[in-house]
């Protein structure tokens, strides 16, 4: 779940700051489609911010097609901004093949490679959060 903050020195009005933080979270994959944004009341209670400011930010994001308000439920992410440029997958695959060859040469079998990858992913995710 996204946690908002306000930067008084940014020069951006609060509602634009909230919109930018959601976009940034989508860009780096910290928020994904289906995920709920904090309720207006949660944001208001945390930041001591005007409720209409939060509503305005959420409406702006809805207009951009990034989120969707579901009446009675809240506001949910519907689109992701993580769209890698063309050719990215092929390049990543080539790099991964090189790494796999190296891992196999070092004596790791398939199961330990999968385990190694998932534990590294977890560590990286924790580092991003911290």
């Amino acid at each position: 779940m996204i946690e908002f903050y306000l930067d008084r020195s940014s020069g951006l009005s609060p509602y634009l700051q909230l919109m930018q933080q959601v976009r940034q979270a989508l860009r780096v994959g910290l928020a994904e489609p289906g995920e709920q944004l904090p309720t207006v009341r949660e944001v208001v209670a945390k930041l001591a911010i005007n409720p209409n400011t939060v509503l305005k930010a959420y409406r702006g994001l809805e207009y951009e097609g990034l989120v969707e308000a579901r009446p009675g439920l809240g506001t949910f992410v519907v689109d992701s901004l993580v769209a890698p440029p063309p050719g990215t997958h092929a390049r990543l695959r080539r790099g991964l093949r090189r790494w796999l060859d190296e891992a196999q040469a070092a004596g790791l079998d398939d199961a330990s490679i999968v385990g190694f990858v998932s534990s590294t992913l977890r560590d990286a995710a924790e580092e991003r959060v911290a």
Binding site: R41, V44, A45, K46, A48, N50, T53
Partner: protein, 299 residues
């Protein structure tokens, strides 16, 4: 419906006008910041709105009702007076009892839950609470009667920054929960900038500026250009504040459409600059009534 509406409202004490020519409309659901220097009429306006004062001229309505004359207006409007006056010898619980006995629509459950959430013990005498806790109790007392409009006179002026933040969090949380309209007077523009979406600015007993903050900000610009440049035709409705160096002029203006003259570099202003410009406002030509008043005051 308007939560608050005033037309030609004035309050006079002998020769002295505490508030005059006050006309404004505040739509329901807004969080309104009431700003102005001491003695500008903020407290007078709030006390007129709750019926503690009667107007000398004009009318004021809250939620479509005349304050001070209607029992319904009393029930639907909450008020926290300056310095949150409470009985220091009463415990918090006894203070809630006053609220319960004096109000028709009192929500004891909500009040107790809210105080428990703030870790304020019911058995403690009010006089032994911190300033922040006392302010919170006064807020619970004002909101426990389940008003639709709540007016607060300088509620955070004497609180430290943390208590101030916590108070505003409580207030805004309740505003969302109950769909309240809130009017609060304050000196702290930085607090107002994040909490309020509507502004009323008083100076010298008159309303100088009022409206939705987004609209007000959108309507004003800071223009920087060569000194002596004419502002004619530049899309300027009026100049609020100006300053000059040898070569350069800086104007804070209310615009009337886009600023057409490319010699003027146009900047967006923030709320604080806007408020300070209107509070400073040395250049505004005085209207005859003002001059007259000054003469009277001196005599």
């Amino acid at each position: 419906m308007n939560a608050l509406a005033a037309h030609g409202l004035g309050k006079r004490y002998g020769e002295h006008w505490a508030l005059r020519n006050c006309s404004l409309e505040v739509p329901a659901g807004r969080v309104v910041g009431l700003v102005g220097p001491n003695g500008a009429g903020k407290t007078t306006l709030l006390q007129l709105a709750v019926g503690l004062l009667a107007p000398s001229t004009g009318t004021i309505e809250v939620l479509g009702l005349a304050p001070g004359k209607s029992r319904e207006a009393l029930a639907r409007v909450g008020f926290v007076a300056q310095d949150a006056p409470l009985y220091p010898d009463f415990t918090v619980g006894e203070t809630l009892t006053i609220g319960r006995r004096l109000n028709e629509r009192w929500n004891q459950d909500w009040a107790e839950r809210r105080l428990a959430g703030l870790s304020i013990p019911l058995e403690k005498p009010v006089g032994q609470l911190s300033g922040g806790q006392r302010a919170q109790v006064a807020l619970v007392l004002a909101l426990g009667k389940q008003p639709e409009l709540v007016l607060l006179d300088e509620p955070v002026a004497r609180l430290d920054p943390l208590a101030r933040r916590e108070f505003l969090q409580s207030l805004l949380d309740a505003a969302v929960e109950h769909g309240l309209t809130v009017v609060l007077s304050s000196h702290l523009i930085s607090d107002l900038e994040r909490t309020c979406d509507f502004l009323i600015l008083l100076r010298d007993a008159e309303v100088r500026l009022s409206g939705a903050i987004d609209d007000l900000v959108e309507r004003h610009r800071l223009l920087v250009g060569p000194r002596g440049r004419s502002t004619a035709g530049a899309g300027i409705a009026r100049t609020i504040r100006e300053s000059h160096t040898d070569k350069q002029s800086t104007l804070l203006v209310e615009t009337a459409g886009p600023v057409g003259d490319p010699a003027w570099e146009s900047h967006v202003v923030d709320l604080e600059e806007l408020v300070l410009a209107y509070l400073g406002e040395p250049n505004e030509p005085r209207r005859p009534v003002d001059v007259l008043h000054r003469v009277e005051a001196r005599a």
